[in-house]
Structures are given as structure tokens and as C-alpha cells.
Symmetry: C2
């Protein structure tokens, strides 16, 4: 019933995943009762429409031969995924609870367990595995050892014939990265041409794809907006499975779930996926599973604020940065320019046990002085400061596209004879992991005059602003207009940051 | 391609929505190019599997008679929804851009507009509507007036025959509530039996359904866990459309989208829908649309913390309260007991222009002294206080199931001769809307010793804790164990609140 299953199964059909066999336990019972109260579609026909091979086992509780036969047929089919619909009775054997929702979510209870044992002629003690059953299953120990030995022999033969490919394969599954991989990341100076961080992200992806054989991914039908195409590769399709650009279609939730699968497969692949930042709302379930399951998926989320302009409030994220900063084990990165985007990718690639979400701009941004990969790795760091003794008159925090505004506001205030520190808080989670000494060196407790600027919800900023600081942000939905007009209309401006700074200094 | 469309269309087929006609613009172009790169399923067959009537118009750009005929056939079909698949060429008429993705997201440009005009033999000035076109369409003004007059006459006849039903209908579409409706909400004293707020929620829903004829809703296959059944009504099904319990199946996103439609239909219906709080991740897209579109949907979200116990971290919300507090125009309510649950429903029903999310406990909670409907309407209020002059030694904030812990910790500290105020911050958004005087009367600036307790992310609490306060919460994923063990393990305890209070006093 869940939409994500249709998204994923539609892609499985499109890709012709002939090795995929899905068992559908067609027991007609859901938590609220018979599935007929909400689900009366023709499942076989739907899966056939999705390009699947469908087999129906009518007596799933008893007809083991039919199940064996279905599996054999599914293996014979190499062009299409197979759905084996197995019609069963839930709670089979329980005389009073079989075929009811009560066996879905709660235990049978001692009395009904007893009745079920009697009904099934099962005389063994609880947790006893009879010898004949044990013998039947134990044959797989031997079979498994044989399979493994064969696989190892095949690999050795392959290694002899293709030493380079075998070395790459072994390196991939080891989880180690090629030495010096991070040197491939582009570097920038303030004199480098300005660019949107979504474009700078594409430069990183294309640079990394050359040195990281496991990097692959794509977008939910927004590749040309998310800038996620790997230019030296073609599309991963049914007949081109060695290519690395995945075309997910408009299926965000399925995309995230598929990337979780790729990351957790343990074969050293590093999946990235992309859409507009606001559409993380469609795939949040998969992103939380990344975080919970320690899957190092890289979420490339462009169009990260009102700065996307004309598409308007349906497309403009407001609360999304806050919502991911609150999510455990998710790295929420919002780089400001080329060096920070490179830093974000260094962090995202290295973190194989937690997902990273990169919020990237649609609009062009300048390359800033003081940004660095090393800074990003600390989560928060000083971009500029004209004070001495770790006691500036003011700290201005910024992230992403607003770090430029923070820098410009600092310049205005410095001209009035004040000392100002600009801090990039590109990844709060990483900053929180730094030592107390480092944190104090960036945000000294003694400095209470603080202002933050970020084109998003101010929710959460109080943590860094202390009792006196002020946040410049947007706590309402956006609007449709060119980015420049929106920034001015909503007060995300140098003037407003300067005004707020004067209130707190 | 989006999963939500399959969820909604599966339900439309199940419910037999014979009046529904959907036009599918089958132009084979998506943003990334030809849909064939990601979408090769048989759409007709899929919709037939979902129980739809499917009609194919092969020449959608030119064959108007076929479109007219399809609409007529769709209207004749009253048992099934109809999909009219209209195969078209995107950018039809443009000699150089037709049938390409470049006409999806950007303007043709002056040169191509000119070429298209020539190609289509269109000689009129821009924005000119020729007289024959105007005449053709203007006939609908007269037709529309006739339709309205007929409808008014029908209503008048109905009113004469069924005065009571007509009065109810008029009251519904007026958007006004029956006088005294809120009196139906249950009231509790500290002596009333304790209960889970999900059960107290069911009492509210059942009480309100009797006085609010427009209240209807249901759950995503968790009715018996969310406690959302209206006991005096049956299931809304194909043959029972006057019943009020909706069975959404395991389709959270579709459920939210359908409730948006019900709320925005303008017929005075008040939709509620339900699942476990953590599964808002599946339907966040729809919930944000509620907020953005000013749809007063009531989201009944039970199992709102680690307090749900054994189902474990996949089912235990952590960051969800923070994520909705950050969302514009969403009321995030977390009631603590019977009076607060009643208050949450009063707020939710009255707010027809913004959605409300109610976070409700699985576990049993006591009825607390000092809670009230009026307090909930202010978003934050004093539950208890043994100080005078608005200057307690300590303020303890709590919400929902942890308000009990806040009260117990206050009792411990009071015994040590201190003055303690307990504040329920049941709805941050409503509290922020109160006057500065009221806010100061609840959280005086002069009291810096503050502690919060909530079984969720501490993200955002700094706003109320000030520079010295401490948050008791959970900034990591949960675990599977009985609720009592988890609360102890993760430090959501009276002892921990007392210890934190002593640090800040």
C-alpha cells in the first residue's frame, strides 16, 4: 500500500532487475482487519503493469512444492524481477486466532499456544529443535561452505586474469579509499570565479568520481537543476549496468531507500542522490533510516532557500535546516563557496556510518576569503577577525549563501572602529564534537554580542546566540519573486544584520 | 511516478469514486528528458489494476472530438473513477522546441514564440482574445448562471422538504460551529482516572463528533492503536458514503493529501487523520502543504516518544517535535492529560486556517492538578507555583508525558525550602503569540534558573532556557525496551531533573 513500494517496484521493473525475487505474503489481514476495508486492487495486474514476472502460490501454508517450483521459475527469469504472491493464513494453526489481525501485533498467549500445539500435533518442548529438523537445515552449513569455496576460487582465477580489476574490487569491499583521494577535490582562492554551490558541487562529484570507483548516484528527475551528472559516465540502465548515473524519476522516497540499500550492501559503493532541498519532505522516512541504520548516503540538496526565487513557497525550504539539525546521526552541511563545498564532500565521503545532507544554492555566490576544507571538518570556524585576545566586540554567524552577507556586515561595522569576528557554522553536529577549548576559541563565552544570519527558520539558533544575541532569518513561508527582491523584502540583508548588531553591542 | 499518487489512486479505485475524472497528459517528457529513461510501466494497465476506468485519447493536440467523447464516457461511468490518458506533444506548435524538456521549465523566447505563431498561423497581437474565441467561451457565463439558479432552486425545495437537514447543511458551509460545541469536551479533575492521552483523544473525538456534523477522519491502518474510531459511526465505504470513519490503509502521504482536499473543499468538513508520530516522516509533504495552504487538518499522532516502548527506535520519535515547531503555520501541541487533550482539540477545531499536530502518549498518564483548556489556548501557562511576586527560585518546563516528571521534581525541590514554578509549554506557537506581559508573567526574565524536561530532542529549548538553563531530553535514537526502563536508561527521570535544577539554582 505504501507509495514508496510502488516507486521502487516501478524502477525495478524499468531496470529489469532479473535477480530480484520478492515474496508477497498475501494473507489479507492488516492491523485494522481484513485488507478488503482499504485495499481491493488487483496486485498481480499492477505488478505486471510495472514490468514484473508474477507467480501465484495458492496454498502458501502447506504447498511447499509450489513454493519451490515458484523459486525455480523466478530464477529462470533473468529479464524481469519476480513477485511470488503467496496466499497464506496469518496465524496458521491457531484454532481461535488464525486469520485475524490479533496475531499480527500481540503474542498468542499461553492458552492459545497450547491449543495451537495440539492442533498442529507438535509435541516438543518450547525452544526444542527436533533432530530431523536440525538435520534438514544443517545441510546448509556444508552447502554454504561449498559456495564460499567456489566463490573464493573464482575470485582467485579472476585476480590472475584481471589483476587491476581485482585489486579495485578488493579495495572497494575493504571500505578503504584510494590514497590521496581527497587531493582530487578542487581548491579555490577569493580570486576564483564565483558560482552557485550546486555547480561547485558538480565539480566535486565529477572530480571524485575519477578517484573513487564506488561513487555513483543521481537525481529524482532534476539532474540538470541539481547538477549531479557525472560527465564521463553514461546512464545506468538495463543494458548499461556499468554506468554510474542513476535516473530515479520523480520518486524521491524510492530514491532514498534505494541509496540506503546501496550503502548498506557492504560492497564499498558510495551512493549520492539529489532533489530540491524542500522535497526532502517526500523522502524524510528514508533519510531517517540512513541515520538510524548508519548508511553513509550523500544527499545533494540544491535550491536550499528563498534564494531559488520564482518557483515560490512550495519550493522554498524554511524549516528544513532546523529539522535535520534536530535529527540524530545526520550531518547537515551548508557550504558557502567552493572551498566549503569541497570540505562538505570530504566530510560526506569519509563518513560511511552516517548520512550527510548538503544544502546548496541555486544562485551564484562569491569565493570568500578564509574558507577552507579544514574549517568545514571542524563544523564551525573563524572566517575573519580583526580582534586580538579572543574578545571581539561582536560575533556574526553565517552559513551557506548568507556567509557573504555576514562578511559584508562585518566590514561595515569594522569601519566604525569595532572588532568583529565572522564564524561559519557550516555543520553544527561536527562543531559540537570539537573540544571545549576549540569551541571557546571560536565562540568565547565572554562575548555576548552575537548575530546570526541564515535564510531559513531561526529555530535552534538560540543555542549559539546566548541570552542577548539576535537572529536574522525567516520564520514564515517564502514567496515567488527574483531572489534579490525576496532577500530585501524579508530582511536578509547587510543593513539588517548591521542594525541587529548595533542592538546587541 | 510519485508514490503518493499511487496511494491516492488506489483508494479512489477502492472507494469507487465514479465522479472523479483525471486527465493524464501523456507527453513522454519529464525534466530530465524522455520519460523512457526512468518510466516504462504500462500506465493503463496499472490504473485498471487499481479499479479505474481508462480511456485513451491518441491525438490530444488536435482531436477535440475524442476529448469530448472521453469526457462524456467518463461521466456515464458512475462506479469507477476515470483516467483519460491524453497523448500529446509538449510545446505543440513550436517548430524547434516541441517534444523536448526545454519547454517544461523555461519560456520559449521571443524568436521561438515568433516561429510558433507563424507555424500555427496565429496572427493576433499578444494577449489579444479574438471575438470568435471570446464568444465561444462566453457562453459559459450564461450556462453557469443557469446552473446556479437551478442549484438554488433545488436547495430551496430541499429546505422546504427537509428543514433540519438543510439547516445543518447551511450551518456547515457557513464555517460557523454550533453554539456551545466546546461544552461537549470532557473535563477532568486530579481525582479522575489516569489514562493515555491517545485514549483521552478518542474521548474528545467521540464527544465532538456528536456536536460537529463535519468532523470525520481515520487512521493509516492503526485505528485501534491511534484510538481514532468514532464509535457511533460505521466505515465510509463505496456503499456507505454517509459514515464518518475513513480507512486509509497503510498510506500516510495519501491520507494527509486527502485530508487537505477535504479541508480545502470549503464545505465545512473538519478532517482528522492519524498514525504513529514517527510516521509523519512519510507524510511530511502533505503536512507542509496543510500549513502553506491554510488547511485546518487535525493530525492525531500517537506513540509520541520512547514511551511507546518495545517497538524500538524505528517507531520512536526523537526530532519530530522540534521539526514541527520549526515549520511555519503548524500548531504543534503536546498535551499532558485529559484537560490538556481537550484544550488541544478546542484549539485544533477552532483553527480552520492552520493545521494542528497533536502528539499523544501510548502510555498511561495521571490527571494533573492545574491543567486547563484555557491554559492550552495560551500555549504555555503555570501549572503550579509556591512563590510570590513572580520570582520563583526555579522554573521547570515540561510537555506531554513529562509534565508529570516536572511536577514530581518540583515537589522534591519544594521540600528543600525552595520556590518552584512548573510551566506547561504545550504549544510553543500559541505561547509566542501572547502579549509580552503574559509571557513575562509565565517566564519572568529575572529568573535564570530553568530546567526543561521532554522525551525528545533538546533542539530549540535554548529559546526558553536562557543562558543558564539546562534541558533534560534525548539527542540520540531510542531503543527497544519497556518504557519505564528506557526513561531510566536515558535519564528522563525526576532524579535527573532535580540534579540539573541544583546545577542551575
Amino acid at each position: 500500500m505504501e507509495g514508496v513500494s510502488n516507486e521502487a517496484c516501478s524502477l525495478a521493473g524499468h531496470w529489469g532487475l532479473g535477480k530480484l525475487i520478492v515474496f508477497y505474503d498475501d494473507n489479507h489481514i492488516s492491523i485494522d482487519g481484513d485488507t478488503a476495508i482499504a485495499f481491493t486492487e488487483n496486485v498481480d495486474q499492477r505488478f505486471e503493469a510495472l514490468g514484473w514476472h508474477v507467480i501465484w502460490v495458492k496454498e502458501g501454508n502447506t504447498d511447499y512444492d509450489a513454493i519451490r517450483e515458484a523459486i525455480a521459475k523466478a530464477k529462470e527469469e533473468t529479464e524481469r524481477p519476480t513477485l511470488i504472491k503467496v496466499t497464506t493464513t496469518i496465524g496458521y494453526g491457531s484454532p481461535n486466532k488464525a486469520n485475524t489481525y490479533s496475531v499480527h501485533g500481540s503474542a498468542l498467549g499461553a492458552k492459545e499456544v497450547d491449543a495451537t500445539r495440539k492442533n498442529l500435533n507438535w509435541s516438543h518442548e518450547p525452544f526444542c529443535v527436533p533432530e530431523d529438523v536440525k538435520g534438514h537445515w544443517s545441510r546448509h552449513v556444508k552447502l554454504g561452505a561449498q559456495h564460499e569455496a567456489k566463490w573464493q576460487a573464482d575470485l582467485a582465477a579472476y585476480e590472475k586474469k584481471y589483476p587491476q580489476e581485482a585489486a579495485e574490487f578488493k579495495s572497494l569491499i575493504s571500505g578503504e579509499f584510494p590514497a590521496g583521494w581527497a587531493e582530487a577535490l578542487p581548491k579555490y582562492t577569493p580570486e576564483s570565479a564565483g558560482d552557485a554551490t550546486r555547480n561547485l558541487s558538480q565539480a566535486c562529484l565529477n572530480a571524485l568520481a575519477k578517484v573513487l570507483p564506488g561513487l555513483l548516484g543521481g537525481s529524482a528527475d532534476l539532474a540538470s537543476s541539481n547538477m549531479t551528472l557525472l560527465k564521463m559516465f553514461g546512464d545506468f540502465q538495463k543494458d548499461t549496468p556499468t554506468e554510474r548515473n542513476l535516473r530515479f524519476g520523480v520518486r524521491e522516497h524510492g530514491m532514498g531507500a534505494i541509496c540506503n540499500g546501496i550503502a548498506l550492501h557492504g560492497s564499498g559503493l558510495i551512493p549520492y542522490c539529489a532533489t530540491f532541498f524542500v522535497f526532502t519532505d517526500y523522502m524524510r522516512g528514508a533519510m531517517r533510516i540512513s541515520a538510524l541504520s548508519e548508511a553513509g548516503v550523500i544527499y545533494v540538496m540544491t535550491h536550499d532557500s528563498i534564494g531559488l526565487g520564482e518557483d515560490g513557497p512550495t519550493h522554498q525550504p524554511i524549516e528544513h535546516l532546523a529539522s535535520f539539525r534536530a535529527m540524530p546521526n545526520m550531518l547537515m552541511l551548508r557550504p558557502a563557496d567552493g572551498n566549503e563545498t569541497a570540505g562538505a564532500y570530504k566530510v560526506a565521503v569519509e563518513n560511511r556510518k552516517r548520512p550527510s545532507t548538503l544544502a546548496l544554492s541555486r544562485q551564484k555566490l562569491p569565493q570568500l576569503a578564509g574558507t577552507s576544507i579544514e574549517g568545514v571538518e571542524k563544523g564551525g570556524y573563524i572566517i575573519s577577525d580583526n580582534s586580538t585576545g579572543n574578545k571581539p566586540d561582536l560575533i556574526i554567524f553565517g552559513t551557506g549563501s548568507e556567509l557573504e552577507i555576514a562578511c559584508k556586515a562585518a566590514d561595515v561595522i569594522k569601519k566604525e572602529g569595532k572588532t568583529v569576528r565572522v564564524v561559519s557554522l557550516v555543520c553544527w553536529e561536527l562543531f559540537e564534537e570539537q573540544s571545549a577549548e576549540y569551541k571557546e576559541s571560536v565562540i568565547p563565552a565572554g562575548v555576548s554580542a552575537r548575530v546570526s544570519v541564515e535564510a531559513g527558520s531561526t529555530f535552534g539558533w538560540n543555542k549559539y546566540l546566548g541570552y542577548k544575541g539576535k537572529a536574522v532569518g525567516i520564520d514564515h513561508f517564502g514567496a515567488s519573486a527574483p531572489a534579490g527582491i525576496l532577500y530585501k523584502e524579508f530582511g536578509i540583508t547587510v543593513e539588517n544584520v548591521v542594525a541587529k548588531a548595533k542592538e546587541v553591542m
